[in-house]
């Protein structure tokens, strides 16, 4: 494609077409780009002039525009499986609830709101059964926070597995952000009275894996929620309806869904999902256990594979940054493979243990370019390079891979995952 055609094309892309297929805006997917290239002239003109016909009337439940159908990416159709959030299709920080990533170990149970009960027992003064109506009656809290599976990004860690054709959804789509509403675990533990000597809880789900995790008592007293709301409505079934634990900044698996039981204990239970899985085998032959906090990380969502930049010129690099240890304080972007860095703009409000949208306007000169981002959090932690993680951990583990991600823009404008070129 010549420079001239490119600019013609991109101008067309910015003009609202009324076919309902290509909305105004950036060329979002490779398919869109192909479609634009193929269409020298729009084949379908406006079927109806919307200023000349009355529109649709009100409805009880809204739906997306026909041309806007973002989808989760399924790993497979198994009971223990996952689906990933289409990060490249989203704006801002909130994930629409129906696109929040999923990870279930035994499918999604059907549980009725009035049937569900939470048992809180163990090292407590008053073992208690709460119904959902009881829990909703306690003083309520809402907070915007991310949830990330610690397996996120596991596909690009090993030197032998550095794909180039991988979308940001497939790479890091086990990340979502919501406004969570619920009752602090601290409020419920205050209600039942924790006995001296307690130091952990066991949280157990009501799915057919009875998924269970141990969580330090300090953590749940600090900021964990018994969440029943997400983005203004009750939880979605695949997010644990009607009740889930939500541990801000912790690996997603600990935020046990369909929560039916909390046992207060004086030691961890060492369940399968904190021994066999969600542990980190290290290069020195040891295994890191209870690696719960998600360290600071960032990822560029635009441009990323399979975008094709139709022409050189001004483009805005966009992405997300987050840290399980608090607020993001800085995100830097490099357009030369990590030799030099500039500060990206951060979109406020910058909330602790939430995603932050960053943006950096840059002029692409049409040459091979490797883009990187790196986040810093309020503890001073800087998102490491993959080499730093390899040196510290070896290449065995598939969890907690928060290393810097790279995207390569080729002269053709095609964008691919570019980390393999740097290591």
């Amino acid at each position: 494609m010549s420079r001239e055609e490119g600019s013609k094309l991109s101008r067309r892309a910015w003009i609202t077409t009324t076919s309902g297929v290509i909305a105004a805006g950036l060329v979002k997917t490779q398919a869109d780009a192909v479609r634009l290239v193929a269409q020298e002239a729009p084949t379908s003109g406006p079927a109806v002039d919307p200023t000349r016909v009355p529109g649709r009337i009100v409805s009880e439940l809204g739906i997306r525009a026909p041309g806007e159908q973002p989808r989760r990416l399924l790993r497979g159709e198994a009971l223990s499986s996952s689906s990933r959030t289409p990060l490249a299709d989203l704006m801002g920080t909130i994930t629409p609830s129906d696109l929040h990533f999923e990870r279930h170990h035994a499918g999604i149970p059907d549980i009725g709101f009035d049937d569900h009960e939470l048992l809180v027992h163990g090292m407590v003064e008053r073992p208690t059964v709460f119904r959902m109506r009881d829990l909703e009656r306690f003083p309520q809290v809402s907070r915007i926070q991310f949830l990330e599976c610690s397996g996120n990004g596991g596909g690009v860690y090993s030197r032998d597995r550095m794909p180039t054709e991988i979308t940001v959804q497939a790479l890091d789509g086990l990340l979502s952000t919501s406004e969570w509403t619920g009752v602090p675990v601290a409020t419920i533990l205050r209600e039942v009275g924790v006995r001296p000597g307690a130091s952990w809880i066991l949280a157990e789900g009501s799915d057919s894996a009875v998924m269970s995790r141990s969580v330090p008592l300090d953590k749940v007293m600090e900021d964990s929620l018994l969440a029943y709301g997400q983005n203004g409505e009750r939880l979605r079934p695949e997010q644990g309806y009607p009740l889930r634990l939500f541990n801000p900044g912790y690996e997603g698996n600990t935020s046990v869904k369909w929560l039916r039981r909390i046992e207060v204990t004086d030691r961890p239970t060492h369940t399968r999902d904190e021994t066999s899985k969600y542990t980190d085998p290290l290069g020195d032959g040891t295994v890191r256990q209870f690696s719960l906090v998600m360290d600071a990380k960032s990822v560029i969502t635009f441009p990323s594979y399979p975008f094709v930049l139709p022409e050189p010129g001004w483009w805005e690099v966009r992405g997300l940054a987050w840290s399980g240890r608090g607020r993001i304080t800085r995100v830097e972007v490099s357009a030369d493979g990590g030799r030099s860095w500039v500060d990206a703009a951060l979109q406020g409000p910058i909330l602790p243990r939430s995603t932050v949208r960053f943006r950096h306007l840059f002029e692409w000169g049409g040459r091979d370019t490797i883009l990187l981002s790196r986040a810093t959090d309020e503890t001073g932690y800087v998102q490491p390079t993959v080499q730093q993680l390899w040196d510290a951990r070896g290449q065995r583990t598939s969890y907690h891979q928060n290393h810097q991600r790279a995207w390569k823009i080729a002269r053709t404008g095609e964008v691919t995952f570019g980390l393999g070129e740097l290591v």
């Binding site: 009881d134 003083p139 894996a209 046992e263 030691r267 399968r272 295994v287 951990r393």
Partner: protein, 212 residues
């Protein structure tokens, strides 16, 4: 709180000592004698979870009966707390395995299609995989997990005797127990898993120190 199976401590002798020690992953801070209220102030960096004029107790929810707790309190810990009565041998476990598990985990626990259950070579020798024999730190976790989650399509179908038996068989396949082993609430927590001492607490602490 869970109580240990009667008689267990007496019977286990020297093997049990390791499990008797406080858990290496013990709490980061335990609740002081004043109870939860002392930690309560820390909620969300100073934001109180309940307003100052809230009552000390709301009284919502119903008292949990002992029977109710017993019905749901099915987790099992490394010290054996939570294990039910019952027992099963390697030979009995072979029958359970070949009836209920073989379809998804393969005749020798290595063929799949689902998770590999047998591996006796060290996991760090690439290419290999992590499984019960070379990775799991505690044998009790097998009881906790299999009773709750397996067989995947019909979880909860096995009796305690059958769960003990299939665990004996899995441990035998992983060359951890002899072929005359019998698993019960006393012998299972006494099994020392080959990888147990490889597990270490998380040393990542944030900040600008070395990458971990």
């Amino acid at each position: 709180m869970k109580t240990r199976h009667a008689g267990m401590v007496a019977a286990l002798g020297v093997l049990m000592t390791a499990c008797e020690a406080p858990d290496r992953f013990g709490g980061t801070r335990s609740v002081p004698s004043s109870g939860a209220d002392a930690l309560f102030a820390s909620f969300d960096a100073g934001e109180p979870a309940v307003p100052a004029h809230a009552p000390s107790r709301f009284g919502f929810g119903a008292e949990a009966s002992a029977a109710r707790i017993a019905a749901w309190d099915i987790d099992v810990r490394p010290d054996g707390a939570g294990l039910p009565a019952g027992r099963g041998s390697v030979a009995q476990g072979k029958v359970v395995y070949e009836t209920w598990c073989v379809a998804c985990h393969g005749p020798t626990g290595t063929e799949g299609p689902n998770d590999r259950l047998v591996n006796t070579s060290p996991w760090e020798l690439a290419p290999t995989s992590q499984a019960i024999g070379n990775y799991w730190p505690y044998a009790t976790t097998l009881f906790d997990y299999i009773r709750k989650a397996m067989p995947q399509a019909t979880p909860g179908i096995l009796s305690p005797d059958q769960v003990y038996a299939v665990i004996a068989y899995l441990l035998w396949m992983n060359e951890i127990v002899p072929d005359d082993a019998v698993m019960d609430a006393e012998t299972l927590p006494a099994v020392i898993m080959p990888a147990r001492d490889r597990f270490v607490p998380d040393d990542r602490i944030g900040g600008s120190g070395p990458v971990r």
